[in-house]
């Protein structure tokens, strides 16, 4: 200690005092580890500040805002048709699904409804974006845990889905295809047959991932019993989507609310898991991709004929009012609280994105886990940074 300057000594003592509560018996020193904002495990620029005792996390806290784009402010200076081009960048992997709740909210305020054909195609595209999004999650899960191959399989098969989305909408990532009152265009010829082929490929992809990753004993030993979230905690934090269903709450907005969409016209199952651990969350998502391919298959067979656009005025003015619409997006409950003042654009849009709530539980669930578990828990909670920061 004699070698240190007085200032160094003081800071050393301060650090010691701070660490004393960590481990009084062993007198070990803690360490603050900054995971991110640039880190391979954070799909974007999330920063996690973790206080470690050895490899164990004393507390950890995500710090968002490195990619905040202020969409709630930007929507206030845009007209209703312009907003969809913006908001499909919130969750950029399932972008069409972002447009739907906003359009539904605007339609609710205008008291119009899309024609049945448009509702059908909307639902198909919605489920396709879920497959593209969660399919990539399944591959990415492997990368987070050192398995390099699944992610390439996910990218390979997601490409087929993106080709479909691009074939129908023109946009690979940002379709901007949903319009107030229906859809921009009808499906091109041959799209339905192609989609059926792709759905077969995706079911095979699910089986491959099941064998390669979910069946792997190492994977199971990493995931089971880690990051357990009981259902009451999950509800309190507003977890939604597969995260909530993995905690045993059987609640799916596709089934449990009445929306002008086509989910109630087909036969499908809401998967839940009682465990609430990382494994359950991933497993529920895998089942949901499978279920989505079934929904798409059934919907493809029953597309009604007719127009895809209701009669709406050329210049859209949404009547004064407030509306809340949320849908079961790939990441969870995505909703828009739209306030209109009868103007060309919305007065205020509150974007309730799923990842924001899903990540807010991180400080609670990361307490006491090991460093490698930070990665798996975050991966299993599944966030998209654009969905946290908006």
């Amino acid at each position: 200690m004699t070698m240190l300057s007085e200032r160094q000594q003081l800071s050393y003592i301060a650090a010691q005092a701070a660490d004393a509560r960590l481990n009084v018996e062993l007198e070990t020193e803690g360490m603050t580890l900054n995971i991110g904002p640039q880190h391979p495990a954070t799909h974007g620029t999330l920063r996690i500040i973790a206080r470690l005792d050895g490899e164990q996390v004393v507390w950890a806290e995500p710090s968002a805002g490195y990619m905040h784009r202020g969409y709630e402010k930007l929507t206030e200076v845009r007209t209703f048709p312009q907003v969809t081009s913006l908001i499909n960048r919130i969750d950029w992997l399932g972008s069409f699904a972002n447009e739907v709740p906003f359009i539904l909210a605007a339609e609710k305020l205008m008291d119009i409804e899309a024609p049945p054909r448009a509702q059908h195609i909307r639902t198909i595209l919605f489920e396709l974006s879920r497959i593209a999004n969660v399919g990539l999650f399944l591959g990415d899960l492997g990368v987070q845990m050192g398995a390099v191959t699944p992610v390439f399989m996910a990218f390979r098969d997601r490409e087929y889905v993106l080709n479909l989305i691009e074939g129908a909408t023109g946009g690979r990532f940002h379709p901007n295809f949903d319009r107030i009152g229906g859809l921009k265009d009808d499906l091109p010829k041959g799209w339905i047959d192609e989609t059926k082929q792709v759905m077969k490929k995706l079911r095979r992809f699910c089986d491959e991932i099941d064998d390669l990753l979910f069946g792997n004993e190492i994977f199971q030993s990493r995931m089971r019993g880690v990051g357990v979230i009981p259902s009451d905690i999950a509800l309190q934090y507003g977890l939604s989507g597969a995260n909530l269903r993995a905690s045993g709450v059987e609640w799916d907005l596709r089934r449990d609310q009445s929306l002008p969409m086509a989910w109630d016209k087909v036969d499908w199952k809401v998967w839940t898991h009682p465990d609430g651990d990382s494994w359950a969350r991933c497993w529920v998502r895998l089942q949901e991709v499978r279920e989505s391919t079934k929904i798409v298959d059934q919907l493809l067979d029953t597309i009604p004929a007719g127009p895809v656009m209701a009669k709406v005025p050329r210049i859209i003015k949404v009547p004064e009012g407030e509306a809340w619409v949320s849908t079961e997006n790939p990441l969870g409950e995505m909703g828009y609280y739209v306030v209109s003042k009868g103007d060309l654009g919305p007065f205020r849009v509150k974007i309730r994105s799923a990842s924001f709530n899903n990540m807010s539980i991180a400080p609670w669930v990361l307490k006491g886990v090991y460093v490698p578990d930070i990665i798996t828990i975050l991966a299993s909670l599944y966030f998209i940074l654009g969905d946290i920061d908006r």
């Binding site: 580890l33 050192g146 398995a147 030993s221 990493r222 090991y370």
Partner: protein, 351 residues
């Protein structure tokens, strides 16, 4: 002994040959593994082609990579302990060179005839731990530190099953000389039938499995790659390294894989030899001189098969957690290999 290819070679020539041979024995496997498995097999397993631009089927990609790494700036972090930081990759690569010294590639094609070869190999094999530990410690980076500490814990934990797995072979061969172990396997017979010699993998299969798992861990390959762990520790102890120092780590990783595969093939698969009964050889002295060329080729093939399996596992599995890995070593591998030793000793004494 000095009759390499039945030509009298002066001492300086022999020394030169040995040095060149050592470099080839380290770098050639490393290059082949990287190209064949890391570039091509991994790509094909992920339904893509891998590098295709440099040379036919991307075969020159390796040289392009080396050129790229050599051009990069050699960054030493300001807080790093510069001298040790610079030394660490050299320690790692050096341990590989020291390791290959005892491996026999043919009846006369070896570097040193060492009567305690197995002992030496296992001892030198853990020198790389020092390199990795100091690399992690001297980088002045928390990720590196965690990676280095994990590496130390892991490599030490897996050194033990590796040693214990080899003990069975040593008991069976009755020698610690690697050359003797090769001869014992190739001149042996199974209940009087000497068609394939007597590779120890048949009796020591458990030992072979434990050895390969330990090698996987020793090489820090998936599923035991927590010291590197790109997705959590951002390459662990290598985080701060760039340029040719990273290249040395990179070569060291795959060269060590090659050398461990050489050792595994010597210990369990009959090494450079072909069953002696095929050509009517009685012992080491009868072996024809062409085996000094054929032996290395046989070794190389066996090495490729073994590293192929190592890489196949690497591309297929996720990684363990640190505590699971330790538990696996101490609670599963070590008891199994101890039981294996006991069984081998009992059978050896009884038969």
């Amino acid at each position: 002994m000095s009759a390499l290819l039945a030509v009298e070679i002066p001492y300086w020539g022999q020394s030169l040959l040995r040095v060149l041979g050592g470099i080839v024995a380290v770098l050639l496997p490393a290059g082949t593994i990287v190209y064949l498995f890391l570039f091509k097999m991994m790509s094909f397993m992920q339904s893509r082609l891998g590098p295709m631009e440099a040379g036919p089927f991307g075969s020159m990609q390796l040289f392009a990579e080396v050129g790229k790494w050599l051009q990069k700036e050699d960054i030493v972090p300001a807080e790093a302990d510069a001298r040790i930081y610079k030394l660490a990759p050299i320690i790692v690569l050096l341990s590989t060179f020291l390791l290959v010294v005892v491996v026999p590639f043919g009846p006369d094609a070896y570097f040193v005839d060492f009567s305690a070869g197995v002992f030496y190999a296992l001892a030198i094999g853990s020198v790389s731990v020092i390199g990795i530990l100091v690399a992690g410690w001297s980088s002045a980076n928390k990720y590196s530190l965690l990676g280095g500490l994990r590496a130390a814990g892991q490599l030490i934990a897996y050194e033990l099953p590796m040693v214990l797995a080899v003990v069975g072979v040593v008991i069976q061969a009755g020698s610690m000389n690697l050359q003797d172990i090769v001869v014992a396997q190739n001149s042996g017979s199974i209940f009087g039938w000497d068609g394939v010699g007597f590779p120890f993998v048949l009796t020591q299969f458990v030992g072979f499995l434990v050895f390969m798992i330990a090698v996987q861990a020793e090489l820090t390959q998936v599923p035991f790659d927590m010291p590197i762990a790109e997705s959590e520790l951002v390459s662990g102890y290598m985080t701060e390294y760039s340029g040719f120092r990273f290249l040395i780590f990179f070569i060291g990783e795959f060269a060590t894989a090659g050398v461990f595969a050489f050792i595994a093939s010597v210990l369990f698969l009959g090494g450079w030899g072909v069953p002696f009964s095929w050509f009517g050889w009685e012992g080491l002295d009868d072996v024809d001189n062409w085996m000094n060329i054929g032996g290395p080729l046989i070794m190389f093939t066996k090495m490729l098969v073994l590293t192929g399996i190592i890489m196949w596992v690497r591309f297929s599995y996720p990684r363990f957690r640190e505590d699971q890995l330790q538990r696996f070593a101490w609670k599963v591998l070590i008891p199994i290999s101890l039981a294996n030793i006991a069984l081998t000793a009992i059978v050896k004494v009884a038969v």
